[in-house]
């Protein structure tokens, strides 16, 4: 990365820039931010999925029947710098079984089923008293052990991000509080109710990656958040922390878009923000970091927005990871009569769940229950009329109609050349398409197919190399054998000619 780009990134937030396209949407947040965040009662069973992010499932550390305390690790990931899965409350392990998990594929996965004992007793907590003077590596380890992941929806392990950030050298930490998708308000409520925790988390993260400055980005319509955070920042007395208001336009809260707005820079394909000296973290992640470090509490709960026309009393709820979604909806007064679709996440990027028995996961920022009139369309899918609307709103500057055509015709390499990899699956194109083509869904499909194709290709290249190497080795062995045989024969012949050939010592 050129120094000039890094230099520009250093000035992040001093001036605001625009990104291409995007949508101004009705944000529907009012319904769920009227009342304070409430805790959900502990349900009779918790289902804690062992697959929490990309990569393999965690390995259980406890057996059925074991009693665990709240915050005790119940499973461990086998990869470096991804930590543990923790028990969200105290109780006994009822089973470790395959269950429907909350995942776009709708497939089953291994879950730890916990039967709470109702006492909600914490395991022995070990706060880091002096994190200000602690070794940053210790902070990172703490994040890893506490199972902190990005709570904005990507659930990328935070300790990994911190590690990567440290390798590149970070000057600016960006806290992303621009919750741009309609309906979702969990981050807004968090910033309103616990601004100090967010600021504290920001300071800890800043320490962990040795950043020079922190920028907290919020949307310009979040007035209450602004004053709350302003106060928290001046309380904490940090001069290198700034609060920046950005436009309310979808998908301004996307990592790449937020960076573009704050710095005017685009992240080149194949690069990651740390190469520009930037690290993005969600505000809820920062709050979780604060709890993990100053209180020693692992990530076992999160704020979930439960909203939409399909629930009676939209709310923000503090729920234990593993709580069935139906429990959350019940806490909001239950479904209205016309509830038709259950979405995990926001209306543009969330995925529909077939059943409300699925558990809350770390990525679950929003449970959106929509009624039929929220989703129905008055026209079936039609052929593309090439109107170009999709390209006008695409924040990645792609030509969605071309990509769509390429993917439908299985031209995955062409699609990749046309920038499929840069698609952030924001759904803007989909939303404006007059032909109602499920563009974003085609792109998700195309991306997964292309990834599998690339995997298959590298695997087949590997197999070819190994096959050729083996053939060569076998050939070499054969030649060696023949040569040795020949040498032996030769030696024998030499010997027989010396001894006159009368001894009759033929090869055995």
């Amino acid at each position: 990365m050129q120094d000039s780009a890094v230099e520009r990134a250093r000035n992040a937030g001093k001036r605001l820039f625009h990104f291409h396209g995007g949508l101004r949407l009705h944000h529907h947040k009012q319904a769920s931010c009227q009342v304070a965040v409430q805790s959900v009662a502990i349900p009779p069973r918790l289902y804690i999925p062992l697959m929490q992010h990309a990569g393999p499932e965690a390995t259980p550390l406890v057996g059925t029947g074991a009693h665990v305390l709240k915050g005790e690790p119940v499973a461990r990931f086998n990869e470096p710098s991804i930590g543990y899965v923790h028990a969200p409350t105290s109780g006994t392990i009822a089973a470790i079984a395959r269950q429907a998990i909350t995942h776009p594929s709708g497939l089953e996965g291994l879950c730890v089923v916990l039967k709470p004992d109702g006492l909600d007793r914490w395991t022995r907590l070990q706060p880091m008293e002096h994190w200000q003077s602690a070794d940053p590596e210790l902070i990172r380890q703490r994040l890893c052990e506490s199972g902190i992941v990005g709570l904005g929806g990507a659930v990328f392990p935070t300790s990994r991000k911190v590690e990567e950030a440290r390798n590149f050298g970070i000057h600016t930490l960006i806290l992303n509080g621009a919750e741009c998708e309609p309906y979702i308000s969990c981050d807004e409520m968090l910033m309103r109710e616990q601004p100090d925790k967010v600021v504290l988390g920001a300071l800890i993260l800043q320490k962990a990656v040795a950043a020079e400055q922190v920028i907290i980005a919020i949307e310009d319509q979040m007035e209450e958040v602004f004053s709350a955070l302003q106060a928290a920042i001046s309380n904490a007395d940090c001069t290198h922390m700034r609060l920046v208001k950005v436009r309310t336009i979808y998908p301004e809260g996307g990592e790449k878009q937020l960076i573009q707005v704050l710095t005017g820079l685009e992240i080149p394909a194949g690069c990651r923000p740390p190469e520009l000296g930037l690290l993005c973290q969600n505000v809820a992640t920062a709050a979780a970091v604060a709890e993990a470090v100053t209180e020693g509490k692992p990530l076992v709960q999160r704020i979930v927005t439960v909203t939409g026309n399909g629930v009676k009393r939209p709310h923000n709820l503090l729920a234990l990871i593993g709580t069935p979604i139906s429990t959350l909806v019940d806490a909001c007064g239950g479904y209205t009569h016309d509830a038709a679709r259950l979405v995990l996440g926001g209306p543009l990027m969330g995925y529909a769940l077939a059943s409300d028995q699925n558990p809350v996961i770390k990525a679950a920022n929003c449970i959106l229950v929509l009624s039929n009139r929220d989703i129905q369309s008055d026209q079936a899918e039609m052929p593309c009329i090439r109107c170009g609307e999709c390209a006008r709103v695409c924040p990645a500057l792609l030509l969605p109609q071309t990509l769509n055509w390429q993917i439908r015709n299985d031209l995955l390499d062409d699609a990749s050349d046309s920038g499929l990899g840069e698609c952030i699956e924001c759904g803007c194109c989909d939303y404006v398409c007059p032909s109602h083509i499920p563009l974003a869904e085609w792109f998700r499909f195309g991306k997964s197919e292309h990834q599998l194709l690339a995997m298959e290709r590298s695997q087949s290249n590997l197999a070819r190399d190994r096959y050729l190497a083996r053939e060569a080795r076998l050939e070499q062995l054969k030649q060696d054998r023949e040569r040795r045989l020949g040498e032996k024969k030769q030696a024998l012949r030499d010997r027989t000619s010396v001894t006159g050939g009368t001894m009759g010592q033929g090869p055995a």
């Binding site: 709708g106 790449k256 685009e266 080149p268 394909a269 690069c271 139906s326 479904y335 509830a339 038709a340 679709r341 259950l342 979405v343 209306p347 543009l348 990027m349 969330g350 529909a352 769940l353 077939a354 059943s355 409300d356 028995q357 959106l368 929509l370 009139r373 929220d374 989703i375 129905q376 369309s377 026209q379 079936a380 039609m382 052929p383 593309c384 009329i385 090439r386 170009g388 609307e389 390209a391 990645a396 500057l397 792609l398 030509l399 109609q401 071309t402 046309s418 920038g419 840069e422 759904g427 989909d430 939303y431 404006v432 398409c433 007059p434 032909s435 109602h436 499920p438 974003a440 869904e441």
Partner: protein, 343 residues
Amino acid sequence: MNRKFTTGAAPHLPPISTVGEVMRQVLYALCPGVIAYTWFFGTGILLQILLATGFALLFETLMLKLRQQPVALFLNDWSAVVTAVLFALCLPPLAPWWIACVGMFFAIVMAKHLYGGLGHNVFNPAMVGYAVVLISFPQAMTQWLPPISIAPTDIGFLDGLWAILSGQPPAGMTWDAITRATPLDTIRTSVASGQTIAEARQLQTFGDLGGRGWEWIANGFAAGGIWLMWRRVISWQVPTAMIGSVIVLGLAGYLLDPGSNPSPLEHVFSGAIVLGAFFIATDPVSGCTSPRGRLIFGAGVGILTLMIRRWGAYPDGVAFAVLVMNMAAPLIDRYTRPRIYGG
């Protein structure tokens, strides 16, 4: 309680528009121009619109049935109606009924459905239909009426209807008596016979900027087109580039030789430039999709139109210019692909 929910891909929002809505807005935007047309040239054009629409819907239904496509869905997209109206607006108001029939056959059956239907046609269907009838029926396609205010005889609604249905001039009249060359034709013939344009413009058929009446029709279309641009139904690039290139090229010609080249405003306000810029060249299916591509496309149509007007065999050239540029569109799109994020 174990509730079941519908599944479906994100986004989980009702879409904001439909193809039918886009097409209907185009039709609304055509209204001011059509009203001006009727005001200046009588009700004949309304009959043409009705005829063409009828034939278009007939052929559309037939082809959808043949191709086993959902008829209701595609009739609801209004694209055949838009094609029909654009086509009808290019016809002389009293053209006989079978012109609309033949034109719509070529537009809907040949240019649209044989290429794969909505979204797959390479050429602008309305312009294909128009080009076919223009070449096949040159006689009928040049029987233009003068504006009512300077017409020698008054042709009523029933006279018009009779003329269209029978293919004969209204009772007791001859074609020669009631038709008049269009302003562009007049310019072409007078320049060919050695007159200057200033001399030709003394005729009654001319108004302040373009042809009498025609200039108001152009204003009507421009108003509708600007509304479409504001509604973002059409892009700004194509109309701007097309009218801009006509003005620049027209100005160059005018400055070089004002005697045989009309002024740029004259160019813009006569013939089908305004209609073409806002409604025909903006057809998304057969045009370019990238913003830069649309600029090139629009400019190409403008330049070709002027070249055809100046050197071609036809007085106006919007239709042919659009068809030629349709052929170039995929190539232009290929070379004007926008920069990808991060690239």
